[in-house]
Symmetry: C2
Subunit: 303 residues, 2 copies
């Protein structure tokens, strides 16, 4: 199955909108050392699928389809991209994965040095929380903005993404069980996807029951996304991926295809995607079509 | 002038209270990789003056002297200590200052490795924002909690502490002007002191005018604090400082005594302290005595 033209078009339009907002997200009037500002913006504007911010915007509209929800969601969309970006900067450092390239460009520390890369990451992580307060300035109720702060601090923090990274590093030579690998994937990847969907839905005014169904949707979607990444690393097209295939194999990373085999991994992506779509249907949103389309798009992507 | 017995007693009692709260600040029920949890707590519980959290608690009580303000301020007191601690962990890394000891103990990366130290710092930074949301759960109005999130994200972020760190690194061989040194000190040190005083005062229910006077108080207090640190590095007692004297000289750091001479630096600490106390008096708080006493204590400390 191919991604439909209208879905591709929706995603492309969203990317442009998000990149414009990201470009403006660090106030010009703030007195920031130029090298630090440049280093932060270098990575924030380095491209990528912008999947997480798209999910924030799309979830907000799915619950409450007017343009106000989308504009109130935009600062939070920028926030999650700042978190994702900082995690890549720190992950690429020599002390962590020691990567020289990311998306075909030199990694942050290769351009600005290790010290500035650490600080650029710290700056982006901190600024994400400022961005959430900007959503309140656009009319998001303070209780809602505060719930989003709390979600982000958990899902991106030690019990979330940072915990997933730590487990990944600790287990680098030793992950042998599916349970360990699932912990890493759930926290390294799913938690930010869960945050994105919940934050958008909160801004759209979702009920508690809707939030619970959407959490299931996002959790399964995130896991399917990560397993698909593992699969593409083995059989993908280098030009489309923007990185060498089989880099996980070379780095001796334990992946789903490694533990389960390719056939079962492909089937698992399909099953998780179907289950995520069922959870989304259970949420009974006003306008779920774009979220549904994103689930299909992720399963069928080739990069 | 010596610190009075009652001030010393107040500070000691506050440290005990804060250390108890810090010990409980990372929920036991959260599923965090044990090595990450241990690394975060190792640095959070490594001692220190706990000046920033004491200022949060004391400012809250100074505006509104009842025990509710102090208990609502406690999670925010923990938050600023998490920020201060993460900044030390990242600052000590080989890519930054490359320090092996801090307060007489091995630095985080010497015990847990560079990768885990980076993640422990990221985890503490992120968790600080969670702690602020806990203050709202204790009754701090959501608008107030959100203003505190916004303050922290600015004052600890790229236009604040992270910017000060970046300027410090960029200027390491080249700081020649007092203006540059003031930028570094204001952001590396004063900004977190300003945050602490403002956050406490917000929880106590300060008026806008009081917040403005308190911002002046904290800014000057922070600068005096940092210059006093520079002075103690030159003439202090190693046993009391817990680090070798003249380490700044060995590291060829440009300091106030280096630029102004010792006599003028001592006079500047006195002048800034007097000005800070005047700004504090201008705020006309219900109960300013402990804040006043802290200003005197900082000027007269020997470690």
């Amino acid at each position: 199955m191919k991604t439909s033209v209208s879905t591709a078009d929706y995603l492309n339009r969203s990317v442009l909108e998000i990149e414009e907002a990201l470009h403006m997200s660090l106030p010009q009037e703030w007195d920031i050392p130029p090298a630090l500002r440049e280093s932060m913006m270098y990575s924030l504007e380095a491209g990528g699928k912008r999947l997480r911010p798209i999910l924030v915007l799309t979830a907000a509209e799915a619950v409450h389809s007017n343009s106000l929800a989308r504009s109130q969601a935009m600062p939070v969309a920028c926030a999650i991209e700042m978190i994702h970006t900082y995690s890549l900067i720190h992950d690429d450092l020599p002390a962590m994965d020691n990567d020289d390239y990311r998306r075909g460009k030199l990694t942050n520390h290769k351009v600005y040095g290790d010290a500035m890369a650490i600080l650029a990451g710290d700056g982006l992580l901190t600024h994400a929380f400022y961005a959430i307060t900007r959503s309140a300035a656009l009319g998001t109720p303070p209780e809602t903005a505060l719930a989003i702060v709390s979600d982000l601090a958990r899902l991106a923090g030690a019990p979330g993404m940072v915990g997933g990274q730590a487990a990944d590093i600790l287990g680098e030579q030793g992950v042998t069980s599916l349970a360990e690998l699932e912990y890493i994937h759930l926290h390294k990847t799913s938690d930010l996807i869960v945050f994105s969907v919940l934050a958008g839905a909160r801004i759209g005014g979702a009920t508690q029951q809707q939030l619970e169904s959407l959490q299931q949707f996002a959790r399964k979607l995130g896991l399917a996304f990560q397993i698909q990444d593992d699969i593409l690393d083995l059989i993908g097209d280098e030009a489309k991926l923007g990185k060498p295939v089989q880099s996980d194999v070379q780095q001796q990373k334990v992946t789903y295809p490694f533990l389960l085999g390719m056939e079962k991994s492909v089937a698992l992506v399909e099953r998780l995607t179907e289950e995520s779509k069922q959870a989304l249907a259970d949420a009974k949103l006003a306008n779920p079509d774009n979220l549904m389309a994103i689930a299909d798009y992720l399963m069928n992507r080739d990069h």
